[in-house]
Amino acid sequence: MKRSLVKSTLLAAAFSMAAVPALSADVIKIGFNIPMTGDIPKVGESSKLSAEMLKEDINGAGGLEVGGKKYMLEFIYEDNEAKAESAVTTALKLIEKDEVLAMIGPNSSKQAVPAGQVADDNETVMISPWSTNPDTTLDRPWVFRAAFLDPFQGPVAVDFAAKRFSAKTAAVLYDLSNDYSKGLAEIFKADFEGKFGEGSVKAFESHGTKDQDFSAQLTTIINAKPDFIFLPDNYNQVALIVKQANQLGWSGPIMGADAWGSSELMELCGDLCKGYYFSTHYAAKGAKGATKEFIDRYTAKYGEVPDDVAALTWDATRIVLKGIQQAGELTGKLSKDREAIRDGLSSITKFDGITGSMSFDEQGDPVKCAVVVKITDEGEFEFTESVCP
């Protein structure tokens, strides 16, 4: 008796695991390959919250209209644990088992590069909201992204600093084991020295990801007396570095890049970061039109100002939906629809997103503007200037 009970429980469990949710013809499935656990869970959470809001909007209005027919959206969120191998299995699961029409994510380049390979091999559209590594989309017709590349942010910082601080010399402090930080630092140096001559970057210092003490590097930098410091670092390190620079007597300007743009920066850094500038995807304060509407609604719904991942996921998802609409009509045949979506996506000439209007080049990378924001005395990120390619 007991044995058969165990057996039947096992069987029931097996069946319930194998059971596939009933398929409806009028549903568009989109997969999200995002890190909900691991190193950067906040990134995954922002993506999910943003996507949920978009889904409610569209499903609340009766669905997405494609070729005269309304489709309801179904978003499938899968956790990729912020690991490369997990991003690959997650991508395969979404593409093969869940049969999604398109995939959003992964966000960090470490995962987006191998997952992009999988998407390209299996002929499914993938769009990474946040990845900045050129390899993610390079020679992969099925892979797109919503963020601008690092090479673009370097010159933005150079031009802005030359104009705003009348800078002729600079110093750089970056994170050696963070490819984003390192790449940006190198591009900045090349561009700055190209404009102001060899040696105009007076100090080029690096640190490790888990370092807490930066006094050696900062002393070198401050002794070199640059006009400003370029600091392409993550927000948690920015807080430490700014504090220590201040203690060592630095009073000049500091400029950063989009990794500063977290709501936690002001909590960690306090008053010291106020008055500094950084380049990023969009500005929360001083936003107008659709961007302001998005920020207000997100803030009201979730009680926090959306960070750039949330904004980029919103745009990335809308780009995919627009691609689906451009595809004309859906046949219900997976491989045919996926191809139609890819063609639809690459035929988008201009897309008005909340992170600016953009178009795609032949690699699937967006051509869009960056904004430079100032940290105000209230601790908000205020729009200062928009820099376009």
Binding site: T37, K83, L92, K110, V113, Q117, S177, K182
Partner: protein, 338 residues
């Protein structure tokens, strides 16, 4: 006949796997889970050699995996693929079929040499010190990779997919699953043979009592070195396969977190139990995939299961026993020479 039962079963399993993969009866998702399972088996069994059988505590396994992954990736791309840094392919891509297993083995040898570098200074000490030295070795490997720009630095290195595709183009077979299967079986076999050999019995002897082993004519220093090199070499093989499955390597994939994952598998299966390590690697991989629907709760459930296991079975699933000890009737179906 009895003597060849296991070999026959394995050969049939390989043939079935290759057929299923070729005809795409099992999907790519299931196949990728199976391949990562194989890699986890190699990793956990090889770490068990040091942590379980020898009773030392090494926690830098991912570092050796990184050495194997990078050496074999660079070699493969240099020989068979066009790359911006290494220029055009040195050999005809159709040769990749024959050279690929060699590349994987060379990755393993490189990792074994790296293991030797760590072993020489560290086995003068015991216990906690080895743990610290291996953690340091793991960090050193990652820092070195991050600072070499020719292999991509922190950006990572890619191009291995074209080698895998070149193999498929020459003879249309699912090469990656086949090689992962073969190397998994091979490494379990090597460890089994090593442990049960007269020479290899010195490893558990060191675990029992190092001084007594020394008196009984076991050259403990040499023994430790050999065991450690074998363990790190197999980790290198796992790393090489890992790199070719993903088609992209990045130093961030081989951090201390990865080492910890392997440690969990070893202690879950039971120290000093080969079949335990195999079982736990399979279970661990399956569990992580099966619990996907739970999303974030997964990381509450999995550690909770581990705590339960450690509470009620602190020696791990198998303790230090092997499968036939639990199911004596299994012995009727096979026999080994030992």
């Amino acid at each position: 006949m009895k003597r060849y039962n296991v070999q026959i079963i394995l050969a049939v399993a390989l043939a079935i796997l290759a057929y299923l993969a070729q005809e795409e009866i099992i999907g790519k998702y299931a196949l990728s889970v199976l391949m990562f399972m194989g890699i986890n088996v190699i990793l956990s069994t090889s770490l068990n050699l040091v942590n379980g059988y020898m009773g030392e505590f090494s926690c830098g396994h991912a570092g050796f995996m990184a050495v194997g992954a990078y050496v074999s990736s660079v070699l493969g791309v240099m020989l068979f693929a066009k790359d911006k840094v290494f220029g055009p392919a040195l050999l005809d891509p159709s040769l990749s079929i024959w050279v690929f297993p060699l590349i994987v083995i060379i990755g393993g040898i490189a990792a074994a040499l790296a293991g030797l570098l760590v072993a020489i200074p560290s086995f003068k000490t015991r216990g906690d010190y080895l743990a610290i030295i291996t953690i340091a070795a793991n960090y050193i490997v990652i820092s070195v990779v991050e600072n070499i720009d020719t292999i991509g630095g922190a950006r990572g290195f890619m191009g291995m997919k074209s080698v895998v595709k070149a193999m498929g183009k020459t003879i249309d077979m699912p090469w990656m699953p086949i090689w992962v299967f073969i190397f998994t079986i091979l490494s379990v076999w090597i460890i089994r043979r090593f442990i049960s050999s007269t020479f290899g019995k010195g490893v558990p002897a060191i675990n029992q009592d190092e001084i007594a082993a020394e008196i009984m004519s076991v050259n403990t220093n040499k023994m430790k070195m050999v065991a450690f090199m074998l363990s790190s070499g197999l980790a290198g093989v796992a790393g090489a396969l890992f790199a070719y499955i993903l088609g992209y390597v990045n130093p961030g994939s081989f951090t201390i977190l990865k080492s910890t994952e392997v440690l969990v598998m070893v202690y879950l299966g039971g120290m000093g139990s080969l079949s335990g390590s195999v079982l736990s690697a399979i279970l661990f991989t399956l569990l992580l995939e099966a619990l996907r629907p739970l999303q974030i709760i997964k990381w509450v459930v999995v550690p909770f299961l581990l705590i339960l296991l450690m509470q009620f079975r602190p020696e791990g699933i198998m303790g230090n026993r092997e499968l036939p000890d639990f199911f004596p009737r299994l012995k009727r179906f096979y026999a080994f020479k030992d």
